[in-house]
Amino acid sequence: MLTVLGFTAPHVDYHALAPEIIITVTLIAVLLVDLVSERNRALLGTIAGIGLLAAVVPVLTLAVDGTDRFVLAGNPGYVVDNFALTMKALFLVAGYVVVLLSTNYVAEGDYYEGEYYFLLLTSVLGMVVMASSRDLITIFIALETLSIPAYMLATWRKRDPKSNEAGLKYYLMGVFATAIMLYGMSLIFGVTGSTLLTDIHASLGSGTTPIVTLGIVFCVVGFAFKVSAVPFHTWAPDTYEGAPTPITAFLSVSSKTGGFVAILSLIFVGFAGQHDVWEPMMWALAVLTMTVGNLVALRQTNVVRLFAYSSIAQAGYILAPLAVAGDLKTAQDALSAVVVYLIIYAAMNLGAFAIIIAVARKTRSAELDSFNGLFEYAPGLTVVMTVFLFALAGIPPLAGWFAKFEIFRATASAGTGAGYVLAVFVAINSVIALFYYSRIAQAMWMQPASDGDHTPIRVPPALVGALAICVIAVVAVGVYPQLVARVGEMAQFALR
């Protein structure tokens, strides 16, 4: 061990840190290639994609190895456990799909390419770090690493005022949320004297004081912005509509998942003893989020905005199991339900955005009307979009049904009245949601093409790849849910 000026460098487990290192190397490579090569722009996306896939390799070797590791020996602040590995794999694969979605969009739209991929990779790096963070400061750093590039990416269509508005709104709301969260963290630190979640758990015990309650509430509220839970969702629709569509997909899937990962680590590791504080809060957030999201989505005429509200509602479903996750048994059920939902949601939503991007290549629009008559000239895209839409609505045998089922199971497993009431709320909301998902299906299948234009849509190979990944995942998981169910069951925290 190296000792400099009395500071002893701790032992670092480089195997455990390998995914983060690979992404860092890749993003530097992207910048360098962008610097030296003016012509080979297409190379940038390829490098980014390969880097993300390469980072999956150590995740797999770590998963095969199976032991829970601390990256810094003896320090439980940065942990590689099954939960972290599952979420890292999800972030990396989702990031790869976003790169596929971006390839033609960015290349054909006259945008800065090198910086785009650099920022995208940086944001993914923040998420991967978030999956392992079990320390308030690390969580904060991870949050900023994933957020700041996202603020900039949202404004990437810089000549469009809507995009500028998107980025600015997102930035202001994000910073506001961060401030609240930091205040909460400082309260917790003040009471417990530590930033390590395990220490916080040990120090707080099972009781609570007003100051601790306030700290927990502020921390959760901070991340409620990130996952766009009602009433902290107001930035989402405008940002989603204004941002470049691949980035919208990225925000609605990866960034949201990042927020959920932080919430899960906080409440299951740090504040596990204070479930009396966060359970009712999650209950109210879940009911509000799914209901408001769904009801407002009913009125949308722009597909991207519709998906913004749909993804708000989906966040409500994901929050639901947390409302009954107090004791150890229900906590495991809730955690696996949330993990399963996040995985399936990523496949469904990224797939739907891939179609929106593909259709917009022809129609240059994301209005609902622009989907009219799609079945007549793009039957393949229509069928695939239908798969995603009804997967999101939770119709078997498409993967979404199992995600919803896991939510039902987790809320019912508590056996409490509150749990069953919540399950009924989810049930009613899935019916409301079906209405607006089927409006898109209706436009595609049952309306004539708006302008009678029947030229087919040319779908570039990168988009085909993204669609293939998503549709195979959605159908395979729907027919044989054991694939993700097992992952969800294993993805537990090492420290509790």
Partner: protein, 517 residues
């Protein structure tokens, strides 16, 4: 052969349609003839498989599950791929496997706009998988998945190929059914967590076989859980007051869609009551029974009155479904083996007869381009064979003895004369009388329909027009159904013999309950 059939027969019947659909997906849309032949071949093979299954079925043992396959599926939630059939499933399985090929044959030259046989037939095949799967599934989650699979193809069938109000009808159908099934799945989960074995250990299973002996759920909880399933199945049946989706869906659906909807989809609901709700929660079923019977009777009368007020032939037939399914539900609500036998018989008979009536409505519409009753008339003069078939089906539908419809309605009424032990006899006898009035109404609206459409002379607007009579695809599709209506009418034991002991085992819980009291 027999061994193969026992292991693979049911799974083949369930998944072969999907194989056919997958093959059709890769064939270009322009090859319409090829698509038709593939669809026909697939459905006929499926029918053949079910006939083989019926041949090797052990009829002396029809109360117990046969052809059982039990395989891992979703271990994490302890849900398994369990399929099997007993005497209740078998008739419905055969009915489904028979109806779908007739739909394909009928479609041969009857394409609703906007044509596109490829998509239409693929949806039909997917529907078949869902319907057959529901009738053979013996695990609640598997049952749920198949129960839901039928929604999407039917939604598109109504929405794309339907009439003028198709968008409204399609989404209404979809929302109603989804609402029911969402509550149903919550009920299934409650069973999973609450049911205990006789020793008091939690079962944590979705297997219907194991759950049938479940205990340890408090009566009040049972009532709520049963309520969830009641809404799920009741909307599908549909029971009054959840029936409002049905007239719209039926009227707007293309002929083929209406036939499948009437002949099979409605039965998924009633089948759910007999297969799932009653065996697993006999206690709650017992408490709920008078209320279900009340709604059933209201449905009978309400459906009949609505029929009398209709001006559209297809809508009239749709409302007659509400009334007929009321008889089925009344039979179920008596909780007697007699009543349940009548219910299964009623399902098969209604499937055949109302399926036929919708075929006829479709063919009339194809020739006259309208179904408005006051513009029709004189069918016997213009297309005499079709007119006679319509007369025959109307007679069968109103419950003429000697035809299948009679054996669905009459025993259901008879069963409510003496319902299960513990149910109020006076109440059920009142239901019986009111239900019997319903059969009079049925005779009224059906004969009136016949009189206005088949008898008399054609309206002036059709003067000089020539209408072709029944064509060969129609003959091919209709003959088996017409023949079965007569065969079952003359020899109802054909069905009763199969269902009886299965119904006894479904009522096992109710009977133990009665003895305990």
């Amino acid at each position: 052969m027999e061994n193969f059939l026992h292991h693979w027969g049911l799974s083949l019947a369930v998944f072969l349609p999907l194989v056919g659909a997958a093959v059709m997906m890769v064939i270009p849309r322009a090859q319409e003839e090829l698509h038709k032949w593939i669809a026909l071949l697939t459905t006929l093979v499926v029918f053949g498989v079910t006939i083989l299954v019926a041949c090797y079925f052990d009829y002396d043992n029809s109360g117990s599950l046969q052809f059982v396959v039990n395989h891992n599926w979703i271990d994490v939630i302890n849900s398994r791929y369990i399929v099997g059939i007993d005497g209740i499933s078998l008739p419905l399985l055969l009915l489904t496997a028979l109806i779908v090929p007739t739909v394909v044959i009928y479609s041969w030259n009857h394409w609703p706009d906007p044509k596109n046989p490829k998509a239409f037939l693929i949806l039909t095949l997917v529907l078949e998988t869902g319907m057959i799967g529901t009738f053979v599934a013996q695990d609640l989650i598997l049952f749920f998945v198949f129960f839901e699979i039928v929604l999407l193809p039917m939604y598109f069938m109504i929405g794309v190929w339907g009439g003028e109000q198709r968008l409204y009808a399609a989404i209404k159908f979809f929302l109603f059914t989804l609402f029911g099934s969402a509550l149903m799945i919550v009920s299934f989960l409650a069973l999973f967590f609450l049911a205990k074995d006789p020793a008091g250990n939690p079962l944590h299973t979705f297997s219907m076989i194991d759950l049938a002996n479940a205990q340890g759920i408090a009566h009040s909880t049972q009532l709520i859980v049963f309520g969830g399933m009641f809404i799920g199945f009741g909307i599908k049946v549909p029971i009054f007051p959840f029936h409002t989706w049905l007239p719209d869906a039926h009227t707007q659906a293309p002929t083929q869609g209406s036939v499948i909807l009437a002949a099979v989809l409605l039965k998924l609901g009633t089948y759910g009551f007999i297969r799932v709700a009653i065996p697993i929660l006999p206690d709650a079923a017992h408490t709920w029974a008078p209320w279900i019977a009340l709604l059933a009777v209201i449905g009978i009368i309400y459906g009949a009155l609505c029929c009398l007020a209709q001006t559209d032939m297809k809508r009239l037939i749709a409302f007659s479904s509400v009334a007929h399914m009321g008889f089925v539900m009344l039979g179920i609500a008596t909780l007697t083996s007699f009543g349940l036998n009548a219910a299964v018989m009623g399902m098969v008979a209604h499937g055949l007869i109302t399926g036929m009536l919708f075929y006829l409505a479709g063919s009339v519409k194809e020739r006259f381009h309208t179904l408005e009753i006051k513009r029709l008339g004189g069918l016997l003069l213009q297309a005499p064979r079709m007119g006679w078939i319509l007369g025959f089906c109307a007679m069968a539908s109103l419950g003429l003895p000697g035809l299948a419809g009679f054996w669905g309605e009459f025993p259901a009424l008879l069963a409510s004369y003496s319902p299960a032990v513990g149910l109020s006899q006076p109440v059920f006898r009142v239901y019986m009388v009111v239900g019997a009035l319903g059969t009079v109404f049925a005779a009224g609206y059906l004969l009136w329909l016949l009189q206005r459409t088949a008898f008399g002379v054609p309206q002036d607007e059709w003067e000089g027009e020539h209408f072709h009579d029944v064509e060969w695809p129609e003959w091919l599709a209709w003959t088996p159904l017409l023949a079965l209506i007569v065969v079952i009418g003359f020899y109802p034991n054909f069905i009763f013999h199969v269902t009886d002991s299965a119904v006894q085992s479904a009522l096992h819980g109710v009977q133990t309950l009665a003895i305990a009291k």
